[in-house]
Symmetry: C3
Subunit: 142 residues, 3 copies
């Protein structure tokens, strides 16, 4: 199977926290990076999501928000992934940014060129990727 | 009214499943395609969402993820719409893809050119559109 | 701190409505514009979100849907922000649109050129921005 989402985090489910309609699923990659997803309870049952199960987290690159500089704001986004810029591709309007995390995962973001300039993004710059848990799709290999 | 969202699925509500804050709303198009949306309980009451009510599901094209190939991963996304590619428009960075579903609905997706190449997208190729229920806006004609 | 999200609405929390997994947080800008966000209960506790607390709402421009014309459809999106177009930037595929709200906030949207044409967007045209509450990230200055 091939998927258009540029971010695929392969790992194992560490925790599932249930609600009435939605559940929070925490996936830990083999390198130790953590991604939290919100999925419906229907998906938890249908996919058999439970601690220890191997699962992938998928995120489209335009859903990733990037931060640089002093941590003077705390965010609601459940995924705040600190890393180092390791690749920039500038288009006419948007810039594609690759961010390497401590555990070895790479986060791909698409942001405007204006934002890329403001943030001072360049190879080696420290940055953080914000990803809302509700923007993460969970997949279970069969 | 005109809307910028490229995907508009017109149909009738088949089911509403309620939670504490959110509810799942299932819309069936006249052609039989099904779209599930997650909206707040406030919207269910304000819009009078109930089985039998005519409603539209709106989805921006960049929120659609595409898949091709063997179904070797099962996904949490509530909307997994199988169809056939019927139109590709390649830009400098992104490709717009039209996917025709069995019921006649057309799903518009915007993905990167790199992804379009990897997936081998071309007219007539079978593909599946993944859409998270939380990315669907529901509208009721008045 | 610098952030890639083009929409930053600075204000004060007016209300927090709690659920089992998620909560709805309403932020009112100093100019009186209102933005509703859905965040996890974990974030409500971690960030100390409560009425009166200063907070920012962040939204990426591609997550904003625009409407023009007669209000003949009612929408589930919790944020329906009426304003006037005050700036358009056309690219090869997408158009960036600035919408000025009554309270002085500016909403930045990225939509396709095709949609911009269909909606008849031009400076001074009345339009409405739809933003799903689940697409809003909340930040608290520290």
């Amino acid at each position: 199977m091939k998927i258009s989402a540029r971010n695929v985090f392969a790992g194992k489910i560490a925790a599932v926290r249930s609600g009435a309609v939605n559940a929070e699923v925490e996936i830990v990659t083999d390198g130790g990076d953590r991604i939290v997803a919100i999925v419906t309870e229907g998906s938890v049952k249908a996919l058999g999501l439970a601690p220890g199960v191997r699962a992938n987290a998928y995120v489209k690159a335009p859903w990733v928000t990037l931060l640089t500089g002093a941590a003077d704001v705390r965010f609601s986004a459940r995924n705040q992934l600190a890393g180092t810029v390791g690749g920039l591709q500038k288009g006419a309007v948007n810039t594609a940014v690759a961010l390497r995390l401590a555990g070895g995962s790479v986060v791909h973001a698409v942001i405007t060129n204006e934002a890329a300039d403001e943030l001072g993004l360049a190879d080696g710059v420290a940055a953080t990727a914000l990803i809302k848990a509700s923007h993460v799709i969970v997949g279970v290999p069969v």
